[in-house]
Amino acid sequence: MIKIAICDDDPLFLNQIERMLEAYEKENSQQFIIKKYIKPIHLMGSLKEEFQVFFLDMQMPGMNGCELAEFIRKYDKRSTLLFVTSYHQYIFECFKYEAANYIMKPITQAQINYEMHRAIKKINSGEQAYLPVKNDKGYMKLFLSDIEYIETTKDRNVLFHCADARKEIGHFKMKNLEERLRHSSFVRCHNGIIVNADYIESVYELAIRLVSGEIIYTTKSRKKAVMQKVAECAGCV
């Protein structure tokens, strides 16, 4: 099931894209949930629905597509963004927001098919695995491959340390997280820490050095599991 958001101030285009998506859905036996937004502000308010594909118009009242894309990217770094527009000049913004493509109006069925095909391939590739996190900043998707490690805080929340030195608070129980992340590259190295084995550079006695240079600790009883995970993820000689 794939969740798609379309945002355009012209209902005609909204319905057109929706029709085309439905046609694609039927043809390729996919399941889509399509939400239509006439005002960008409404889309901004419902990011918690965890959309995976966005179709954004460029010229909308009150906000343009770039601003909207910037807002979306703050909460969701990797989902597929597609600009649908009749203006040429914004194309270079695509690279800034890592948009998948820039579609000129009028949009055709062939284009929709191509873009959806690419988007579905990306979703199925596994790099899109994420953890939905809610904190006082709002709802966001933390992609597993961006998380360095997770630690508990004093007030019974968890703190996610992300690759770009970003830190996010989330309300989770360590036990549940451990269970959920078991099948990816995560391992619980300490009572209060779950680490992503892909980010480990070395383990020396009870100290784990991360690629970023940070040092975290493990315990005697958990060290074996950590080493096993590292060997499994990186491949051992």
Binding site: F92, C94, A100, S145, V203, V230, A231, G235, C236, V237
Partner: protein
């Protein structure tokens, strides 16, 4: 080590990339290797035996357009990062770039800041990519090594020493096991007790190999393996026009068997080769 290919026939652009790379290496202490190709067919040929982390591609090449090139590159290597560079910074070219899943679209001349940002992103991605790493178990724990950072491995008092750019690690595994793991792709067993990363080979002399980053030391080559090594190096260097011409040049001199054009000869060489090609 980051491996970069530049496919462009613009000398000034290539020079600029070279300058940026040198500055980046100086400032960040990260090894970057750039290969320049001025002919797209030759580049595609070379791509079959080599793997790069980044390809800087000109959009308006004489024989194949950037888009066609990107399509062919994607057929050979589906995951490599492609970045387009062009003087024609317009809508059509940008749309083509997006179609080929290019990561960015740069305007010539390049700015160092932009290049630095791209390299930095690339490097941090490479550091955690499981395909580029492998783990070595030790007594006190485990160490994860970047495969492309290994310069050479040698047997020293029955233990294998892995020489990296700024440190060395001992391991009690046999060299044969390493040879198996590291594949025959980039590593070559040039001696019973030496396994070298061909990416770091600078020069092949009569009495040994000069490696980049290893000073005052020659890696011995045994007689039986010399022929094979020459073949491998020629194979890798042949497609790179620059390397090829310079290799011939030094070959004539007799004493040196094969040599890669150094950074300082690059400008001179590139001019000569382009002329030669015309």
């Amino acid at each position: 080590m980051l491996k970069i290919a530049v496919c462009d026939d613009d000398i000034y652009h290539n020079k600029k990339v070279d300058v940026c790379v040198k500055r980046y290496m100086m400032e960040k202490g990260i090894e970057v290797k750039v290969d320049f190709y001025s002919n797209e067919k030759r580049f595609l040929e070379a791509l079959k035996n080599k793997k790069f982390d980044l390809i800087l591609l000109d959009i308006s090449m004489p024989e194949l357009s950037g888009l066609e090139m990107a399509g062919r590159i994607r057929q050979i290597d589906a995951t490599v990062t492609i970045i387009f560079c062009t003087v024609y910074y317009d809508f059509n070219n940008a749309q083509r770039g997006l179609g080929a899943e290019a990561e960015d679209f740069l305007k010539k001349p390049l700015s160092y800041k932009k290049v630095e940002m791209i390299f930095q992103r690339l490097n941090s991605r490479k550091m955690v990519s499981s395909r580029e790493r492998f783990a070595i178990k030790r007594q006190e724990g485990i160490v994860v090594i970047q495969i492309s950072d290994i310069i050479f491995l040698e047997i020293e008092r029955k233990a294998v020493t892995i020489h990296l750019r700024n440190k060395s690690i001992m391991s009690y595994l046999t060299l044969k096991e390493f040879e198996k793991k590291l594949g025959r792709e980039y590593f070559y067993r040039c001696h019973k007790s030496y396994l070298v990363n061909l990416d770091y080979v600078e020069e092949l002399k009569n009495n040994g190999i000069v490696l980049c980053g290893v000073e005052n030391r020659l890696i011995p080559v045994s007689k039986g393996r010399r022929e094979g090594l020459l073949k491998r190096l020629a194979n890798i260097w042949y497609n790179e026009l620059r390397w090829c011409a310079s290799a011939y040049l030094f070959f004539v001199e007799g004493q040196v068997l094969l040599r890669r054009a150094g950074q300082q000869d690059h400008k001179k060489m590139l001019g000569k080769i382009l002329y030669y090609e015309l």
